[in-house]
């Protein structure tokens, strides 16, 4: 049985801010199903009570002094933007 349907793939694509052609959605649905089936093997393991690992080396409370340091000039920070004006990024109208 398919684990993920075409409709779900389209929903996930929206969440990920991606668009696909009909053929692409079909291909992705097939491939994602294969991958999810492969991932299924984890279900064979009983992990009740096992702490999840989010980082392999635990470093707790990495603090530093809150000092004002030199930062990138606005010109350089916006220098790679596809569209920038007067030190600001230009985007389509939102409101």
């Amino acid at each position: 049985m398919a684990k993920i349907t075409v409709t779900e793939v389209e929903h996930v694509a929206h969440l990920a801010r991606l668009t696909f052609s009909t053929e692409e959605v079909e291909a992705f649905t097939r491939q994602l199903n294969d991958i999810l089936e492969f991932i299924d093997k984890l279900d064979a393991l009983d992990t009740a009570g096992i702490e999840p690992t989010t980082r392999a080396i635990e470093l707790l409370n990495v603090f530093r002094e809150d000092e004002v340091k030199e930062s990138l000039p606005v010109e350089e920070a916006t220098g790679n933007a596809p569209l920038a004006e007067e030190g600001a990024f230009v985007v389509p109208r939102i409101i």
Binding site: L15, A16, I35, F38, A77
Partner: protein, 486 residues
């Protein structure tokens, strides 16, 4: 001096410091070789000739004044995932095709302090996602030992360029094997250091809990020299360890008496090419003859590592790559009527198929209702994989295993089958999940003449043990005299 490009960092260092050769001469020799040979290998995305010659000139002045350090005047290549101020850093993606970082990565600052020379930026799978460098948005890189085969990936350009002697050594990045696997396929030495050993500041993020920068070189000692130069604390990466940096190159002088090497049975299973198995086992025998004690051990959760990796790495990637929105830097698509449409068109046109596949998988695994079943489950199994290693390192100084199940495969062979491609990282992924260091050392050739790598793994911050074992193996096998003709 016709073969300046055949020399290791250590050999060049002596010649440079004795003023028998200048960095400018070496740099020119490499640039000339790149011009002649790279049109067949395709390892460089950008060659920074002008900057390289300028850096070489400054290095020569420094050497002349007697103030050289280990890398002064040594020509290196840099994977195009590492930010270089004012020089294109594409990540092998259309998304960043024209991106010129306004700052240097921490490792680039280190190399600059040393007065190293950068020859250019090296090809890679898009956003470091892949095992063959075929996912580069620009072109495929060829394996210098057989031009019809892949160099491995994702640091394919970093490995192929060192193997083809187009740079003296290089930097790559390794999230699931992306330094060790191409190093194995191209017959060079490649190391993924302990997570946090090298600052990730300025490394374009793929999976932040797994990514690590490391060296690729033509000898274990060169690998140690480069590792020493780039390691150490950097407050700009909060996961970077404040541990002192040992003199790694010194680790190469010790023998293997009293040294225990574990051989995990789960790494010698069905799917491992018999010729690779033979070469790796011969390498382990060589380590035993060199004085090491060999122990059979078990890492029982190995078979789950690939599944864990493709949940954790894609989940982290889907979050990290949300920054490519066509606003702050990089590509923006044309023809949109609102913000959401601009995002979608930009990302649909800017990313290649494998990157999209991983963003989709990661987004799905993190989406409402699935988090526990996928991400939490994978993170729990990750704990079990880490426990396996902890047990093993109670008895062993390091572990020896294959790097990849096969030697370099043919271009196009696995492109259509993502799972087959993912399985080529089966032996390298556990090291990333556990955050431990791993190194790939050439240990022989298959019947087609393709190089085979042997992988050594050690506990957190035990890079010296890896280098010690690797150096002894390299010395006993004495393979490095052989290089591809290209």
């Amino acid at each position: 001096m016709s073969n300046l490009t055949d020399l290791t960092i250590s050999e060049l260092r002596q010649l440079l410091d004795r003023r028998e050769v200048t960095s400018t001469e070496v740099t020119k020799a490499y640039l000339q070789r790149i011009q002649g040979v790279d049109p067949r290998i395709h390892s460089f995305i950008t060659v920074t000739e002008e900057e390289a010659l300028e850096q070489a000139k400054r290095a020569d002045e420094r050497i002349f004044s007697g103030a050289s350090s280990s890398l002064t005047g040594i020509p290196l290549g840099i994977k195009d995932v590492i930010c270089t101020r004012g020089i294109n850093t594409t990540c092998g993606s259309k998304m960043l095709e024209n991106f010129r970082p306004p700052y240097n990565a921490h490792v680039m600052e280190r190399l600059e302090e040393h007065g190293a020379v950068m020859l250019g930026k090296l090809n890679m799978d898009e956003f470091a996602m892949g095992s063959s460098t075929e996912n580069s948005a620009f072109f495929e890189t060829r394996n210098p030992w057989d031009l019809e085969r892949i160099p491995g990936g994702s640091s394919g350009g970093s490995a192929a360029s060192v193997g083809a002697r187009l740079c003296c050594a290089s930097l790559g990045s390794d999230t699931g094997g992306s330094i060790r696997q191409p190093a194995s396929h191209c017959g060079v030495v490649g190391m993924k250091p302990t997570y946090g050993r090298v600052s990730r500041y300025g490394l374009v993020a793929f999976a932040s809990s797994l990514d690590q920068i490391g060296p690729l070189a033509r000898s274990v000692k060169d690998c140690a020299i480069l590792l020493e130069a780039i390691s150490g604390h950097d407050p700009r990466d909060s996961t970077c360890l404040p541990a002192p940096v040992p003199a790694y190159s010194k680790a190469c002088s010790e023998g293997l008496d009293g040294f225990t090497i574990g051989v995990p049975e789960e790494y010698f299973v069905e799917g491992l090419d018999p010729e690779v198995e033979r070469a790796v086992k011969a390498g382990i025998d060589t380590l035993e003859s060199a004085g090491a004690q060999i122990e059979r051990i078990s890492l029982p959760h190995t078979e789950y590592a690939v599944a864990v990796y493709y949940i954790i790495a894609t989940a982290e990637a889907s979050s990290n790559l949300s920054r490519y929105d066509g606003v702050k830097y990089g590509f923006r698509a044309e023809g949109y009527s609102n913000l959401i449409e601009m995002y979608k068109k930009t990302r649909a046109q800017g990313f290649g198929p494998e990157v999209k596949r991983r963003i989709m998988l990661g987004t799905y695994c993190l989406s409402a209702g699935y988090y526990d079943a996928f991400y939490k489950k994978a993170s729990q199994v990750r704990t079990l994989i880490i426990q396996d290693f902890k047990e093993a390192f109670k008895k062993c100084d390091c572990l020896a295993a294959p790097v990849a199940p096969t030697t370099a495969f043919r271009l196009g062979e696995k492109v259509a089958d993502p799972i087959q491609m993912y399985l080529s990282d089966i032996f390298t992924i556990p090291v990333n999940l556990a955050g431990i260091p791993g190194i790939s050392v050439p240990c022989g050739f298959d019947s087609k003449g393709l190089p085979v790598g042997l992988q050594l793994m050690a506990g957190h911050l035990q890079e010296e043990k890896l280098l010690r074992a690797a150096f002894n193996l390299e010395t006993a096998l004495n393979l490095q005299v052989k290089w591809p003709e290209t």
